[in-house]
């Protein structure tokens, strides 16, 4: 099986704090890989390192066999490494349609087009609208993003990533803050992701993790505690002590 994403001895120090501690991770193509760990374990930091938001203090990152450790954020996106954010990062004064059209245009290398009106390429608009419809956002696609309800913004957060046609998709707590009764929308979308897309999911909801993932890595204090199949991790007493115990008091 080919390897989609791998890190080797990745380290990130914030002053005296080691937020990522020699993490060597291998994620196979098409995997449904969950990354779990208590709050502050360094999950988001790891995503930031993988996507180029942060530069590692040490170590390397390989995407489909290429060393991307020094590549810029946007260059990684163009290679198919795309993420969502734990805290919504949206274009507040743009509409969902504009945001999606822009993402689609960028993917087609048309983001520098300064001559044609944005949206004049009908196939881009169609593609954007397609995604919005799939995400149940078509009724609000012309509204300003800042006025959308939180649940819709959360969906848009994922839709924007999908518009980049990811080969490897990193989802940072996609259901965070979404009320129980709206969670199924997100769960359905995760289930519908194309099988050839490699997905790394950070999530606190254990039911979601166990139903979605085929492999789980556990991160504690910046370091990998253990890694294995779903049953293996569910049974692991160490994991239960460190993580499942901790999540109980949330």
């Amino acid at each position: 099986m080919s390897i989609a994403l791998a890190t080797h001895e990745l380290v990130k120090n914030f002053g005296g704090l080691r937020a990522t501690d020699h993490v060597s991770l291998t994620i196979h193509t098409g995997a449904r890989h969950a990354l779990i760990g208590p709050n502050g374990a360094g999950k988001t930091t790891l995503i930031n390192l993988l996507t180029g938001v942060l530069t590692p203090s040490q170590g390397t990152i390989m995407l489909e066999g290429t060393n991307i450790t020094r590549l810029s954020q946007h260059a990684r996106v163009q290679r198919g490494l795309v993420r969502t954010f734990q805290i919504n990062q949206l274009f507040a004064d743009m509409s969902p349609l504009q945001s999606l059209c822009l993402a689609v245009s960028e993917r087609h290398q048309q983001g520098r087009d300064w001559w044609h009106v944005a949206g004049s390429n009908k196939s881009f608009v169609d593609e954007a609208e397609d995604i919005l419809t799939r995400f149940g956002l078509s009724d609000v696609m012309m509204q300003q993003t800042r006025f959308l309800p939180y649940g819709k913004q959360r969906l848009l957060e994922i839709a924007l990533a999908i518009a980049c046609k990811p080969r490897v998709l990193l989802l940072d707590e996609p259901a965070a803050g979404v009320p129980e009764e709206e969670r199924h929308e997100i769960i359905d979308i995760l289930a519908d992701l194309p099988k050839d897309v490699t997905v790394v999911l950070i999530e606190h909801d254990m039911d979601l993790v166990f139903s979605f993932a085929d492999r789980i890595s556990v991160l504690v204090n910046g370091a990998l505690l253990t890694e294995g199949g779903v049953d293996e991790i569910a049974r692991d007493p160490q994991v239960r002590a460190v993580y499942l115990g901790e999540s109980g008091h949330e």
Binding site: V53, L97, S105, G111, W114, H116, A118, G119, K122
Partner: protein, 330 residues
């Protein structure tokens, strides 16, 4: 499918040319015939409007604050002035060279603005303008220093229209250049590139995450803005046949910021409308109270900003009231 067509149309709708815009530009020509004696003042307005438009491209669309935009205006003015002084008096050639020189300096300095907060950007732009001012002051043998550039000979526009004493040619020429560059800017802000700029300004982290290279977009718009500011400076040099250190002075950077804030940031007509209000007010107040007109400009500015601020506040209050009313616990 009809649904798709309408979505597509809706995307294009906001870039549509409106009849009120036609009216605005027709009126801008007509005023010359109604108030022919004010032509010089009008051409001053057109140039200020163009200068403010260039600032709006970086401030309103790119989110880059600048307190040194006069650097490009001044460089453009000196470029066109020096050409006219040394026998290359063709106005359009002057504009082209001024645009190139200003664009080069804009491009070079843009890299200093890619990182850092608004405050560092203010300081860097201010510093660059100060350095250029001092440089022009020191190179008096070329720039004429404090006395200004002497002996400019500006030829007729397109070889046909000579500059007259009343400023009629000056105004129509400045207005035509403003109009063309306005159309270009309008095209750009409504393009995909323009949308990507809004994205970079709105959320640079997300912009990167959808594959936008924020730096290259900011470099591009800053360079363009510098070129347009340079053209504004060149227009000023050619229509007044005068270039002095004043073109690089700090007050010019501050004035253009005032003009843009008065007229409205992030709206291409804002700079032009601000220029109309600012210049007319300045002209009128200078007639009544020659020494204190800046006081009144200051007062108007403070009122404008406070009113705008208030409106934001009430809007915010009504939203929070609604949210806390719905959610129960606040």
């Amino acid at each position: 499918m009809s649904m798709t067509a309408s979505t597509h149309d809706m995307m294009l709708e906001q870039a549509r040319w409106r009849w009120s815009e036609s009216l605005f530009w027709i009126l801008s020509v007509l005023v010359l015939f109604v108030f022919p004696s004010k032509a010089l003042l009008f051409s001053q307005i057109a140039i200020m409007g163009l200068f403010a438009l260039s600032l709006d491209l970086i401030l309103g669309y790119g989110g880059i604050v600048s307190l040194g935009h006069a650097a490009f205006f001044g460089v453009g003015a000196y470029a066109a002035g020096l050409m006219a002084k040394h026998g290359l008096g063709d106005p359009l050639l002057g504009l082209a060279v001024a645009a190139c020189v200003a664009a080069c300096i804009g491009w070079l300095t843009s890299f200093l603005l890619l990182r850092g907060s608004d405050l560092t950007r203010l300081m860097v732009t201010l510093g660059i303008a100060l350095m250029l001012f001092e440089l022009a002051n020191r190179m008096a043998s070329i720039t004429g220093g404090a006395d200004g550039l002497q002996g400019m000979m500006v030829g007729p526009v397109l070889g046909l229209f000579s500059f007259d004493l009343f400023g009629k040619t000056a105004y129509l020429y400045s207005l035509a250049v403003l109009f063309v560059l306005f159309l270009l800017s309008r095209k750009i802000v409504h393009s995909t590139f323009g949308l990507s700029l809004r994205a970079v300004k709105g959320n640079i982290l997300r912009a990167g995450a959808i594959g936008i290279s924020a730096s290259s977009r900011l470099v591009a718009i800053y360079t363009l803005s510098a070129a347009i500011a340079g053209i504004a400076g060149a227009l000023s040099a050619q229509t007044t046949q005068l270039v002095s250190l004043d073109v690089l002075d700090f007050h010019r950077s501050a004035d253009v910021m005032l003009v843009l804030v008065i007229g409205g940031v992030g709206w291409l007509y804002g700079g032009i409308i601000g220029a109309i209000m600012f210049t007319l007010m300045q002209d009128w107040l200078a007639g009544i109270t020659p020494q204190y007109w800046e006081f009144w400009i200051g007062l108007v500015l403070v009122c404008l900003v406070l009113v705008g601020h208030d409106r934001i506040k009430t809007g915010f209050q009504s939203i929070t009231a609604r949210v806390s009313g719905k959610g129960g616990a606040a």
